[in-house]
Symmetry: C2
Subunit: 253 residues, 2 copies
Amino acid sequence: MSSKYPAGRLPEPPSPIADDGDETHFCGTCAFSSACIAAGYDKPELAELQCLVEHVGPFRAGEHIFRTGDPFRAIFAVRGGTVKTRMVDKEGREQVLGFYLPGEVIGLNAIYPEHFPCDAVALDTAFFCRFSFPAMSALAARVPAVQQHLFRMLSKELGTASLLAGDHSADERVAAFLMDLASRYAARGFSATRFHLSMSRGDIANYLRLAAETVSRVLSRFRNQKLIQIEGRELHLLDPAGLRKIGQALLPD
Amino acid sequence: MSSKYPAGRLPEPPSPIADDGDETHFCGTCAFSSACIAAGYDKPELAELQCLVEHVGPFRAGEHIFRTGDPFRAIFAVRGGTVKTRMVDKEGREQVLGFYLPGEVIGLNAIYPEHFPCDAVALDTAFFCRFSFPAMSALAARVPAVQQHLFRMLSKELGTASLLAGDHSADERVAAFLMDLASRYAARGFSATRFHLSMSRGDIANYLRLAAETVSRVLSRFRNQKLIQIEGRELHLLDPAGLRKIGQALLPD
DNA sequence: CGCGCCTTTGACATCGGTCAACTTTAGTGG
DNA sequence: CCACTAAAGTTGACCGATGTCAAAGGCGCG
């Protein structure tokens, strides 16, 4: 499946979920696949996972998967495409909280408040597995691997503030952002050196707490330094080691 | 119990856990009390909660509750005192991740990596309930209220990035920080307008991504504007509404 | 084809960081 | 109880990275 999306760009929308394999196999990039494997594909519990999951989409760029204030009933695993989550304060200023790639999960921050605390907006054509949360927690109580998986996903997301931490220069932030995207694409089997930026410079800037102009300038500088090749939103990391060094203070290891 | 700590300041250390009540009651400020109540104090499950909890402390100011890299075995609920969590990057720069007051829980971000990703350091004399996490998740599988409580705690912590979000002025950040502390103290039954700042200006600044001098200047300005009264680390909020207005972009509601 | 949004680049302004000096507080030992 | 020291906090002067404003070009979409 991943080979169909060589640069994170989706093919044309028609009949997009068709090749999802037989009913007892979820998409290979699904964030829950490890839980499924742990439970064993032939166990009766799997039938229940089948019941509580629902394929939704396509959502086109700009469409909402959920909105601030919507009652929380389910979490969503990205099957294809890209999503940004954002909050909009009462003065109307947008604050981008994160970007989510295939295999990643959105909506976990809505469990406690029981309403979504943010919007989720598709950045390109996107598809999801929708998991009913009440059904999911009921299953978790009977299948330890599912419970553990939920705990781990929640805990993992707690460690995601790193890119925003500290008073770091624009260069550090942008370099770390690119390397973070690269490693997340790599973790799902996509290329770690060539991919498409589904989000605008403005979204990147907002997420990194910079001005759009600053992001643009940094990217231009990186290009001049032969660290990257970039044309519009098509990105090629020419010197990942160099970028990693620049962003090291913000990156794991 | 909370009435013993009128301004978040602890009494002298000797025999500090003595008045913890009988064995079937945890401290009233404990983050788990709602789970205990949900399960019912007389249920047999409570005996198991008793088994997996362990009172630890006192830790003196500067002592570590856990360190980066320690294997994850338990989470800690603050029973008294204050804690900061922090990461130290390889250049030795400290990054304060958060402050934790009585009733709040630390260590949740270690579930996924299975090792603590940060240090936890006592800011004053501090006590904890230590919950074995393996025992806790086993119990969660059998007691839905405990599972739900864990999910909610994890999810709640996901929403805690707000104070650091966005490109906001130093005034906004400091005002929001003070109001956030006030509401957290209030939620635990302490005064919302008078409390002790257990952390240094440097820690506050680091947490808010400012320089210590900036925090000092902002606090001085707030004092001149009669928004607060502050003497050393003793704080009195004279105009909470005014502070809330300044920090509104970063505060809930 | 034309409109709007995104992106790039330049000129300038500013908030907050850095450096430095000084004061205050807390801790230690005589 | 006081003297001494180190750390924390305050305040001022200066400077630089980044935001803001502006203009122009490019790209996609209707």
